[in-house]
Amino acid sequence: MSNSTGSRYGSAVFTLPSDQEILVTRVFDAPAELVFDAWTMPDLVKRWWAGDRGKVTEAQIDLRIGGRWRWVMTANGGFEVAFSGEYREIDRPHRLVRTEVFEMFPEAEALSTLTFEEFHGLTTLRILGWYPTKDIRDAAIASGMEGGLQTSLDALEGLVRNEE
């Protein structure tokens, strides 16, 4: 498969549509159902959510309206990073809306709207995060450092390649 070379690596686009929002957009060579499942099935979430920043230790998902989710990773620095929230809208494979809280700052709840748009076998994933204030939005951006500054994309490449 051509994509096994990781041709889309690093292609997520990051924008700030308003003072209270963050939008991340990324295209995948996969049907929308599969991308949706990767966000809603614990075994799959465990395989990608930590990226190269650590290891996912917990991926609880109660996929129904009002159901809770809680994802935890142990970052490479040894500390735990936990996010959790509640599902608000579930429309497989088009749309998923959930509240989201970085447990270190529980008062700062965000609303995360994921849309999965399939066209000619490619799926565009949009993750729109809405934050109660601009300061909280900015803190969320700063927490992109959650996994520590040791990013090693080369190691990531090597790690995923040995599946083949």
Partner: protein, 113 residues
């Protein structure tokens, strides 16, 4: 009570929408307060106020030419803002790249079964 200054660094300075508009309007050009006021539809005092904030954190520099003052963007001072956003971007890229791998693998498995 001590009041936190709103403009201690490049981050707080660009947090204000008019100041971002001002930086955008300046772009790679030099401009006077009058130019900027015209372009942005702001009053000259408003522009001056924002320029003072941007100058305080060195995002904008000024060149005095006779009675005119020419303002321009000081690019290197914006660097920390780019770095900051890039870190967030790189976390998400790292995640979504891994998701990419998972999806490829799932589809490869589907083809085999």
């Amino acid at each position: 009570m001590a009041r936190t200054p709103t403009t201690t660094d490049a981050f707080s300075a660009v947090a204000e929408v008019s100041r971002r508009a001002l930086l955008n309007a300046l772009g790679t050009e030099e401009a006077t307060v009058g130019d900027l006021a015209d372009w942005l539809g702001l009053s000259q005092p408003q522009v001056s106020k924002h320029l003072a904030v941007l100058r305080a954190v060195e995002l904008v520099s000024v060149r005095v030419d006779g009675r005119r003052r020419w303002y321009r963007v000081n690019g290197p001072a914006l660097q920390p803002v780019f770095e900051w956003a890039r870190n967030f971007e790189s976390t998400w890229n790292s995640r979504l790249d891994r998701l990419d791998d998972v999806l490829v693998e799932l589809q490869t498995k589907e083809e085999l079964t």
